[in-house]
């Protein structure tokens, strides 16, 4: 792990890191293409916000490798269940949510399967995807994930549950309660903390007195691992190990501290020039997860400038298509305001 490293440790191995992790060149290329799509989508959402068409964007730029690396591990595993948070648009795409549904969900148009236009940021839950993203109340998903994991264990399923949250979220009493509970019952849950060292404007040193959040895991009786969260393959590796540990008879929870960056303001409502210096921003940009994966793949000759350009064009075309389609889609009928409040 090298939180401030310029170079991905995975690119220095003799055998390319992704192959030793069981990923083929094509799989990783596909993953990269998806990360390009995520970037184009995120930029488009921000642009649409400026035009007054998308009310809120919580940019994922800087945490794509964390969000997507976890999702790739969950998806290839096949029996994981996820409790994401608002910066996890990339996770949802990897799990199969379409760009169209993502766009519709952000605008609030009719037809998304998560919330029918009742929530922003595609929050809610869909019968089509193994995840619940009920709310944006920071920390609330953690004990829910623990309860879900306990349910899986009671029912004898081998499901492993992921819950993601930020460094700020780790200050919630509920985070402590959830980790404590999970530790007691050795539940199959992976706590994934995306540490971008900021909670809106509040820096890590005003959030906690420690450097590595992973240190806290010892207090709950399970391992805490610091991971370079801008390195997709390191995230994938750590997530796979956590899945294995969760299923181990003596195993249980893992705390993954994914050291990520925040390349954009907190949300589209934020102005980060009030609290970030240009130097700080430049440091973050040097750890752009997309650029790092690009460098890794180019270095191995798996990605070429031509192919890269093709991915970017395809991504733009796809995002253009879904932007037009979503803008032309109908709004939910006002009758959808009522009903479906109580289960019958």
């Amino acid at each position: 792990m090298s939180p401030n490293g310029e170079k991905s440790p995975s690119s220095t191995k003799a055998m390319p890191a992704h192959r030793s992790l069981g990923l083929t060149d094509d799989q990783l290329l596909g993953f990269y293409a998806q990360m390009v799509l995520v970037r184009v989508m995120d930029d488009r959402l921000i642009a649409l916000n400026r035009q007054g068409k998308v009310p809120l964007v919580a940019s994922c730029q800087g945490s794509e490798a964390a969000s997507m690396g976890l999702a790739l591990a969950a998806k290839t595993d096949g029996s994981c269940f996820l409790f994401p948070y608002y910066r996890d648009m990339p996770l949802k795409l990897v799990m199969g949510v379409s760009p169209m549904e993502t766009m519709i969900g952000h605008i609030g148009k009719d037809g998304n399967t998560f919330n029918g236009g009742r929530q922003f940021l595609l929050q809610g839950a869909s019968p089509n995807f193994p995840m619940i993203h009920l709310s944006n109340v920071v920390g609330s998903n953690l004990s829910q994930a623990v309860g879900y994991a306990m349910g899986c264990k009671i029912l004898g399923e081998d499901t492993v549950v992921f819950a993601s949250f930020g460094d700020g979220g780790s200050s919630q009493g509920e985070c402590h309660e959830a980790m404590n509970f999970a530790g007691i019952h050795k539940l199959p849950v992976v706590f994934c903390c995306y540490n971008n060292r900021l909670a809106i404007s509040v820096p890590q040193e005003k959030q906690m007195a420690i450097e590595d959040l992973a240190d806290r895991a010892a207090g709950y009786g399970f391992p805490g691992v610091v991971v370079d969260g801008t390195d997709s393959l390191e995230v994938f590796r750590a997530a796979k190990e956590a899945i294995n540990r969760a299923r181990d008879s003596s195993g249980g929870p893992t705390f993954l501290e994914l050291k990520v960056e925040r390349l954009k303001p907190h949300t589209s409502d934020d102005d980060d020039t009030r609290y970030r210096t240009p130097e700080d921003m430049e440091d973050s940009l040097r750890r752009d997860p997309l650029m790092r994966l690009n460098v890794y793949l180019m270095g191995l000759g798996i990605l070429t400038p031509n192919l890269d350009e093709q991915f970017r064009q395809e991504a733009r075309a796809e995002v253009n298509r879904v932007t037009d389609a979503a803008e032309n889609a109908p709004w939910p009928d006002v009758s959808n305001l009522h009903g479906r409040l109580y289960a019958p």
């Binding site: 399967t113 919330n115 004990s143 309860g147 009903g339 479906r340 409040l341 289960a343």
Partner: protein, 327 residues
């Protein structure tokens, strides 16, 4: 039929549902070997095992959050919050999260769980062991809120709550646990959520209440027979959804309504009930809708004189009824 205390009826409801449905489980502080501080779950851990009867850490927020997560997975957890005074820690997961599950997922997910909460005063519990919390809960769309007054209702309603596919808050008045006894069938039965009950028919005044205060209301209604005033007593039983139909049917007949509860008057259930009557039955009224409620103070004070001053009782209710009768 056997005469049982309220706590015995509650225990019986849970035991029957635990035996009938393997998805039902219990979690909370001291619910295991201790059987709960009020013994609601006495001997459950021996009968149903540690995997279904779970002693949790002392942390109400996660008790509620874990309960919600279990319900997402299709289990039917019954959580116990030891005293109503400690439920605030759980408010985020119950009011903030659970109430929005079905609505916020456009009807896809539901949260089938029950949170049992002992509440109320008259037990010398002082400010932090006597709280009335129903006013904070009954105005939450997405939750159901039940507050039974007697063993028969407690058993039937708790069983309905456990079988319901929504988050249900089940408020148990601590003083009724042992003080209120009554006939309870030894066999399984349910009582529908959202239905009030006429405990006593009458013609001149409708007394609307719930929980412990129902019993004082029944005594007061009896006293007023001597004054030739016929009082109908209506037990709301469910506070959300309120049974508007039964309330209005009764008040339209009697033309007068007194709402009684121990929770503070401002914004209490009585405020809503009186608004419903004012809006829907104005032309039938022979007197202003009246309320006899707890004072606007944080909770019951400790000393017996102060506690008695806070509580409603038979005398206070019969005075209020007489005043209304004379209007």
């Amino acid at each position: 039929m056997t005469v049982k205390s309220t706590i015995e009826a509650i225990r019986e409801a849970m035991r029957e549902e635990l035996a009938a449905d393997p998805r039902v489980m219990v979690l909370g502080e001291d619910v295991g070997t201790r059987g709960g501080v009020f013994l609601a779950t006495q001997n459950f851990i021996e009968e149903f095992g540690e995997h279904r009867i779970i002693d949790t850490p002392l942390a109400e927020c996660s008790i509620a959050g874990v309960t919600l997560g279990l319900s997402f997975k299709g289990l039917r957890p019954i959580a116990e919050i030891q005293f109503s005074d400690f439920w605030w820690y759980a408010a985020n997961q119950l009011v903030g999260e659970a109430s929005r599950v079905h609505y916020g997922t456009n009807g896809y997910l539901s949260a089938p769980f029950v949170v049992r909460i002992p509440y109320g005063g008259g037990v010398r519990g002082g400010l932090f062991h006597s709280q009335y919390i129903e006013s904070y809960l009954y105005n939450t769309p997405g939750l159901k809120v039940i507050a039974p007054s007697n063993p028969y209702d407690a058993k039937g309603l708790l069983k309905s709550a456990i079988r319901d596919d929504n988050p249900v808050i089940f408020l148990e008045h601590k003083k009724t646990y042992r003080a209120v006894r009554g006939e309870v069938p030894d066999t399984s039965y349910t009582i529908p959520i959202g239905k009030a009950e006429v405990k006593r028919p009458g013609e001149d005044i409708t007394l609307i209440s719930y929980g412990l205060a129902i019993h004082y209301g029944m005594e007061a209604a009896m006293l007023l027979e001597d004054e030739d005033v016929s009082v109908e007593v209506l037990d709301l039983r469910t506070l959300r959804p309120l049974d508007n139909e039964t309330i209005l049917e009764s008040v339209k007949r009697t033309g007068k309504a007194l709402i009684v509860h121990e929770a503070s008057i401002t914004g209490g259930v009585g405020a809503e009930v009186s608004a419903i009557i004012a809006e829907e039955a104005f032309e039938y009224l022979d007197a202003p809708v009246s309320r006899l409620c707890g004072p606007d103070l944080p909770a019951m004070a400790f000393a017996p004189t102060l506690e008695d001053g806070f509580m409603v009782n038979t005398q206070k209710i019969s005075d209020a009824l007489l005043k209304l009768a004379a209007y």
